[in-house]
Symmetry: C2
Subunit: 155 residues, 2 copies
């Protein structure tokens, strides 16, 4: 094999690897959507261990009406308080992944039934944005999570 | 030059290119922080053209107490309403960029002075999360923007 043919082979291999990235990206989007759904299922089941474990070690929760929640201990406390306060459900409407497959987002809608509430204030709905970071083991974890209500203020 | 030396040279070139990505990433983070600051300056100056132009063509504004705002016409109307409602200032506290340099986020804090307000309801502060998409021309534009208040609900 000549040098030029070996080089051509290597260039072809790199080109094929580049061409495959569209498929890889589709797979990454599916993985992020699955991670979002898995986090929702853990949340719906009020599984505190799993809900906290799905967060990156440097997670920030940017939740309404409270300062940013950062440490894992504070994240655990915030999620536990959420669990006690009512029943939350969400589903993603779109996900996107960087070409490099290390950073992604999911967006979607949520419905929130407050425990013991009635009339105004017993139900909330809105939208969320979650930023996901790929871990060394290939799993996706929550780096940022934030949401807000669609309802009028003070509703 | 032997084939093996040519291959070794190509592998070295790829490795060096990989090593340079740390510096490139630092430059990308600086660019995203600058885009965030430039958007803030346009907003502070109530420059509607620039504030809208800084948004990606597929932007979604996930703002509190309203449904998701998507079309450029609706984005323009939402920003114009924001300008009329008071004075908003923000600054980023962290930015992150995917290794591929196509997707990024900025997070930070905002202060919001409502026009003609007094006492409760005349001031708001909170945090925001913006997802940025790199454009074909190398600039960064807003793909998602969302925020919420740190203050107690109904405050």
């Amino acid at each position: 094999m000549t040098s030029s043919r070996m080089i051509a082979g290597l260039v072809l291999a790199i080109a094929v690897s580049g061409a495959a990235s569209g498929q890889e990206r589709g797979q990454a989007e599916t993985a992020v959507a699955a991670a979002d759904a898995a986090w929702e299922h853990a949340y719906a089941a009020k599984n505190l261990e799993k809900s906290v474990a799905d967060c990156d070690q440097n997670v920030s929760l940017l939740w309404p009406n409270m300062p940013v929640v950062r440490s894992k201990a504070d994240v655990r406390a915030a999620i536990a308080k959420d669990f006690a306060g009512g029943d939350l459900a969400w589903h993603s409407t779109a996900v996107g992944v960087a070409r490099s497959g290390d950073l992604a987002y999911s967006v979607g809608t949520y419905q929130w039934k407050l425990r013991g509430g009635s009339g105004k204030g017993s139900f909330d709905k809105g939208k969320y944005l979650t930023v996901w970071k790929k871990q060394a083991d290939g799993s996706w974890r929550v780096l940022f999570d934030t949401f807000n209500s669609d309802l009028p203020a003070g509703g």
